[in-house]
Symmetry: D3
Subunit: 160 residues, 6 copies
């Protein structure tokens, strides 16, 4: 009846029972963006061109965070992720950086939260590494853009 | 010269040395928002009015995540947080929920990342608990709105 | 010969090899209790009636702890828990609160430790949130009350 | 007014602000017990006499858990523990094992939760290592027996 | 073409996709050594003969670390380890202690990193527990000595 | 009498009480090496020249691991690290890579274990990222090369 599947019969928060669900390959792709001053973006890209470290560090942070999603999000199930990847690209229209994270599993439940967590933590890491130069950066547009596998069918965000 | 204080002399990512900084009381407040269908918001609020669980779970998740910021963000220092709080309020203009997180420490370095991490994970938890009803929710407006203590002076985001 | 299956041939502590065990659905239910002053119980319940937070926080803490059992208990295997739930009910006869935790997995080894860890951490969280009012609370009766699945057969504690 | 110091003005669960509290040396001692069949106790002690592993493993597990208390208990502050110790002794009257855990810090808040968590996890580890022999073991009597330092004064449980 | 399977098409570090790999039983054995003064070795062994604690603690630390390999090594996949064991033996020729760690899984990817992590952390724990007596201890010879299961075939280090 | 300061009066492993020690600035530098085929080294360096990822990932992994030392090494105290850095340089004489890790704290106890853990995990990460090309790599020479601050005086390894 309720669309909130984590609520039990009497309303308490509890993990959904996924024991009866099928083990299928499930993939999710999530995005996020960090908007910043053009000069901040230029600085990161210049540093990145030379050393690769701001973007490289954010990618690693996002991948590692995906593996800890079930520790952070109270009702997420532990999962045997078979792949996580994080890509970061500049977008002059923001201006800033766009993060795309993919998570994949062969398992009983979807991996949206893992992809979203990877994207979020990659964005937070970008903020951390550039905040001395620009305190007003904003993280936005964190959302699932694609999802496949599982009973609820495939999904693709329309306007991306 | 560089504004990217995590980059070493030769460009590698390394933790900034905060050993020489003053121990002062430092506070940061960060915000975030989850935009959703009006019906999703109504469902959460109705559930919340009766049981308190969606918002309550997200608050706890945000607080717990703040304490693990240094595990998630590669170059953050461990900190002895003296206070973390997370507030969540509905905003019909989104429509959706607005999260405000406060972190405080008496220490050698600021707590923006802790506040931002708390806000981000609270938003992710809201997404997780309502995603069965609304896959298109978006997390945005994650940013520092206030910061006090420390050598760089107080900061308040203008347009909040 | 020895009933202590974690001891190796020469007595050192080592994880039991569960590689040859069957993947079956396994469920365990554990309980625990926090005994307190009647006034402490009344205060928690009054607070809970209005806000739901003491019990809600303890429930979330218990669920999250179940997922970290293998990090806490040295010889426990990591598991893909398919469900964890925690219920908390007042019992005037203690007087205090009774916690019931359920853990379920489709896997090669049982989930008693996950259920027991959830119950223990939920009890500890209750203690933490009420300790300013009552330092003499006691946690007791932490035990497995039901267990199903696995080669050793089903189990049900007699006197519960 | 309320004795529940973790509840905010409007009742949500939040970490208490300890920023204004004094840094003093604070110690807490907690206990716990595992009741078991006499034959289980004999088996553990015989194993322990030869190899030391059941009790040794439980001691280590308790010490390590104390350091992670703030990750497990949602509203606990991170602390720089200066000492943790765990002692385990047989008690034929249970029959079973009694665990005593001490935690100490020079900090702004007490360490009861750290001592209680150490005792709880040591008891859980004993259960885990002996459960193949005795499924009906019960963990009980987890409580603070002594506490010193801090504004609320020293405390000693009367009947221990 | 490249032998560095963690590098993506454009060179960024990302987790290899193991979704298409077979679930087989995979075992890896790794070794490590701690070289120390003969008097340090004698002290550890004497302590161990009496109490078993230095070696016992290092064994437990190694086992627990194996379970957290995917949290430490950025591109490792989470795994359901079915067995971990750690053995430590004195070697007068070093002089010092030799650690052997075994990890096993039924899964889609190998467990070399888990065995290596267990061996490394066991060695680090030995260093920690004896460092007051001998600051010049050195950890060396950390390597995979045996590996079975998986597509790349069995492997055995020649000169061990 | 005993040089093994983690052993209690009766021999059990327990954390040393550092409550009475001075808060001083303490620094430790540790090293480690990964020996590999010359072709493996060339491949890493070529990849690194273009993309920076093998060495960059290992550096980040080492820094992040330093912050979790007290979770991995049972009797280590939690610490507020003020700086961690990891440098990696090729050495044709190995042939392979040499890792140098520095940890610093203002605190009551030394940071050798944090520096050693950073070095070890950086080495393990190098192994992980190159193991598809070279299974016979060996990690060695993990040791403290410099230590300053604290009562026991400064220390510098002679032959480095």
């Amino acid at each position: 009846m309720s669309g909130l599947t984590h609520l039990g019969a009497s309303g308490e928060a509890n993990m959904v029972d996924v024991g009866g669900k099928q083990e299928t390959e499930r993939t999710a792709v999530a995005q996020g963006a960090v908007t910043m001053q053009p000069s901040t973006l230029a600085m990161i890209l210049a540093g990145d061109a030379k050393k690769g470290d701001v973007l490289g560090t954010a990618r690693i942070a996002g991948i590692m965070a995906a593996k800890r999603t079930h520790e952070l999000i109270p009702l997420c199930h532990p999962l045997l992720l078979t792949k996580v990847s994080v890509e970061i690209e500049p977008d002059d229209n923001l201006p800033g950086l766009r993060v795309t994270a993919l998570a994949r599993v062969t398992g009983k439940t979807g991996v949206e939260m893992e992809a979203l967590t990877a994207a979020s933590v990659a964005c937070l890491t970008i903020y951390d590494m550039a905040k001395a130069a620009d305190r007003a950066m904003t993280i936005s547009d964190i959302r699932v853009v694609e999802k496949s596998g599982g009973k609820s069918g495939d999904y693709r965000l329309q306007d991306v």
